[in-house]
């Protein structure tokens, strides 16, 4: 693996992709990602699109919880705000998608700021409860302010069009989402090389100590909330157009739990972890469904019951990963990498 590489300048040290090995595989990945939609069926594309959206959302949550240590049970609310804002901006004000999506993200970030302020002094359980109360309130407002949100009937989201091209098929959405995933991942990876990013990590590790060494807790906590909500807002806006219709049941507390699961199972505090977790948690239910299809010929009674098995696998996966590898899938990845790095020497 990587050996025999040495750096001769500071510039080399600061590069994100340090070895030629990594750069090479990234190029291969890029090529594969490009070919992907032309090779696979619509159903797989749709799942991939959901993965992509989940990655963006999980990254956002990881920034807030994994890197800054702020427990948030309100993630679904920010997804909702992003989704509804960008949809309503397009529906009611005719704002084109390429403006309404980022605007939706900004509105979500604004709410992130609003919720961050009372949460500055809270930690642990109380912070969790406060964010949960926020999520609950947002859901209530969506359902009851029907003149704006159409309540439980939900909204039909118009197909986004950029420069005349209308995005209708899952293939088109794939590329749209891919762009945003690349942007989000790059931004997140870079974030933790900046002063703000390191401040986040300091807050997570021991916020009182961080304050003592001069980190402005207020500023950075709010910033963390805002960044996280922006990500969620973008994910929500993309979710809205991919599904072509949104309603309050798309943004329940269950969705927040799914995102927390993604972050935890993938690995808190790691960008790659969020990606792995998002993909794993989106694909797992589909995988079990395929398993059920295979088994249902022999065991037809499973057709209606196996779906419960799906959620039991889900719960079991969370429990097992957390017990046996608290650093999540990322931890597993690192362990494997380290193993192969030293192979065949096991010491």
């Amino acid at each position: 693996m990587a050996s025999g590489y040495y750096k001769t300048s500071y510039r080399d040290d600061l590069k994100i992709f340090q070895t030629r090995f990594v750069k090479f595989w990234l190029v291969i990945l890029a090529i594969l990602l490009m070919i992907f939609p032309f090779v696979f069926s619509q159903y797989i594309l749709y799942t991939a699109n959901l993965c992509g959206i989940a990655i963006i959302g999980a990254l956002g949550l990881n920034i807030l919880s994994g890197f800054t240590g702020q427990i948030s049970l309100g993630h679904a609310a920010f997804l909702a705000i992003g989704a509804y804002s960008s949809t309503l901006l397009t529906l009611k004000l005719g704002i084109p998608f390429w403006i309404s999506l980022p605007l939706g993200g900004c509105i979500a970030a604004l709410f992130g700021m609003i919720i961050a302020i009372p949460c500055l002094r809270l930690r642990g359980l109380y912070l969790a409860i406060a964010t949960f109360a926020f999520a609950f309130t947002v859901e209530y407002i969506i359902v009851h302010w029907s003149s704006l949100t159409n309540g439980t009937s939900g909204l039909t989201v118009p197909h986004p069009s950029i420069a005349g091209f209308v995005f209708k098929t899952d293939k088109a959405f794939y590329f749209l989402i891919l762009v945003f995933v690349i942007l989000s991942v790059t931004f997140a990876k870079n974030l933790f090389r900046t002063e703000a990013g390191r401040a986040f990590i300091a807050i997570r590790d021991k916020d009182i100590a961080a304050e003592v060494i001069g980190i402005n807790l207020t500023k950075y906590k709010i910033l963390s909330f805002m960044t996280s909500s922006f990500y969620a807002g973008i994910a929500g806006g993309l979710y809205a157009v991919t599904l072509s219709s949104i309603g309050p049941e798309h943004f329940t507390f269950l969705v927040t739990i799914q995102y927390i699961a993604m972050v935890l199972v993938g690995g808190m505090g790691s960008v790659l972890g969020s990606i792995l977790g998002a993909i794993f948690m989106t694909v797992l239910p589909e995988g079990i469904r395929l398993l059920r299809d295979v088994l249902s010929h022999d065991f037809p009674f499973l057709i209606t019951r196996l779906a419960d098995l799906q959620s039991s696998f889900y719960g079991l996966a969370i429990i097992l990963v957390l017990i046996f590898e608290p650093k999540g899938l990322f931890g597993l990845w690192i362990k494997q990498k380290n193993y192969w790095k030293g192979w065949p020497y096991t010491y």
């Binding site: 090479f24 595989w25 090779v39 749709y46 359902v143 599904l243 219709s245 309603g247 779906a307």
Partner: protein
């Protein structure tokens, strides 16, 4: 150093090349001839239902009814020699999961049509997809007006919608019970289902010059409904309409009984099954319930056949039929009947367009006596509704029909 890099690089490139080749070797085979989902000896249909979510009790029934119906039909030779293959997906009553399930059924399983997708909101979420993919929902499993009004080419609705049900209830109160300026209250769920009922009741109230209806609603996952009972009791209504699920409706009745409050309770089709009486006990005394489907203990051939087929396919799961078979089971069965009729009329050369044209030829089609007659035209894919009123017979645990099947006029 240079030499090692060369060999390494070569290995890298070849590994990468083979990996890319391997992955690209999963092409999707596009179907080439005939209609999607139809082969010379089979028709594939997709059924999306709530199997493990909040309304699973009803959803499982609907799915089982459809599977049982087609198992039986296949034994008798199928439709024009083709066997109907039913693929069931779980939607947990969620619109997102319904859309995902539909996409899977459409692109992976390549089904001919979607039959009876469960739930109003999930079905509404499917509408754009269905229009784009030109795949019929034949028919839908939702009693909301929005499913067929405005008309959608690919969507057919079955059953009397909620607004019509409410209109009939008020008509019954005024005409059959000859009430004088009655006060009406409504207990319903806090969503479109409830709102549709409120709309219908208020339309009727205006028509008969009654006071507007007082409504108390509940969230479907609420623990208890005590304050709603007290609130409606305050208003002293003569009639309380219960547009509620089994649990909420029965708990309402029990709480009212506890508070010694005795208006006339009228339940909508969701309370129209015998389990209601079993769980309500003597709080069910005097309960009137609206029927849109036949009851499982009725002595008509259609019902008897349904129960026989159910027993054969599912053993004791739905027995005793009186207690376990609920209106949504029957709804599924009727939907299967309608699809089969449409496919039959479309003829041997079965296409999606053909199915739609065939369904539009249904005039006063009788679904084996399980429901009022069904009529579709090229202008309307929603059939005019037929309802009847029944009364509870707590001692014998059954409902006694009070009226014949009546048609509702808007």
């Amino acid at each position: 150093m240079r030499k090692k890099m060369n060999r390494r690089t070569f290995l890298k490139y070849s590994a990468a090349a083979s990996a890319t080749a391997a992955i690209s070797g999963f092409p999707t085979i596009l179907r080439s001839q005939g209609e999607i989902g139809v082969t010379s000896d089979s028709i594939k249909i997709g059924v999306i239902s709530d199997l493990t979510g909040p309304t699973a009790i009803a959803g499982i029934g609907m799915a089982d009814a459809i599977r049982g119906y087609f198992n039986d039909l296949n034994e008798k030779g199928g439709i024009h020699g083709r066997k109907v293959v039913v693929i069931v997906e779980d939607s947990k009553y969620s619109p997102t999961l319904t859309v995902a399930a539909a996409k899977k059924l459409i692109s992976k399983d390549e089904v001919f049509a979607l039959v009876s997708p469960w739930g109003t909101e999930p079905t509404e979420a499917l509408l754009p997809l269905v229009a784009e993919q030109k795949i019929p929902i034949a028919p839908a499993c939702s009693l909301a007006t929005s499913i067929y009004e405005p008309m959608k080419k690919y969507v057919f609705a079955v059953g009397t919608d909620y607004v019509d049900q409410s209109l009939f209830i008020v008509e019954y109160i005024m005409k059959d019970l000859k009430a004088q300026k009655p006060k009406i209250a409504l207990f319903c769920q806090d969503d479109d289902w409830g709102r549709d009922h409120l709309k219908g009741l208020n339309l009727a109230a205006k028509k008969y010059n009654l006071d507007p209806v007082v409504m108390e609603s509940y969230k479907y996952d609420a623990v208890e409904f005590k304050s709603q009972v007290i609130n409606l009791m305050k208003v002293k209504p003569d009639f309380v309409i219960l547009a509620a699920g089994l649990r909420s409706g029965v708990l309402f009745l029990k709480e009212a009984q506890k508070l010694k409050w005795n208006p006339t309770f009228i339940g909508t089709n969701t309370l129209g099954f015998l389990k209601t009486l079993e769980m309500a006990g003597d709080a069910g005394e005097g309960l009137l319930v609206l029927n849109i489907f036949a009851m499982p203990d009725e002595d008509i051939p259609g019902v008897k056949r349904m129960i026989e087929v159910t027993k054969k396919n599912f053993g004791d799961k739905w027995m005793p039929a009186n207690e376990k078979i609920h209106p949504y089971y029957i709804y599924g069965w009727i939907n299967a009947i309608v699809f089969a009729e449409g496919a039959k009329r479309a003829g041997k050369n079965l296409t999606r367009e053909g199915l739609i044209n065939a369904l539009e030829t249904l005039r006063n089609f009788d679904p084996e006596g399980l429901m009022g007659p069904i009529t579709y035209t090229s202008a309307s894919h929603g059939s005019p509704g037929y309802v009847r009123m029944t009364k509870s017979d707590v001692a014998n645990k059954r409902f006694i029909p009070l009226t014949g099947w009546k048609s509702v006029s808007r």
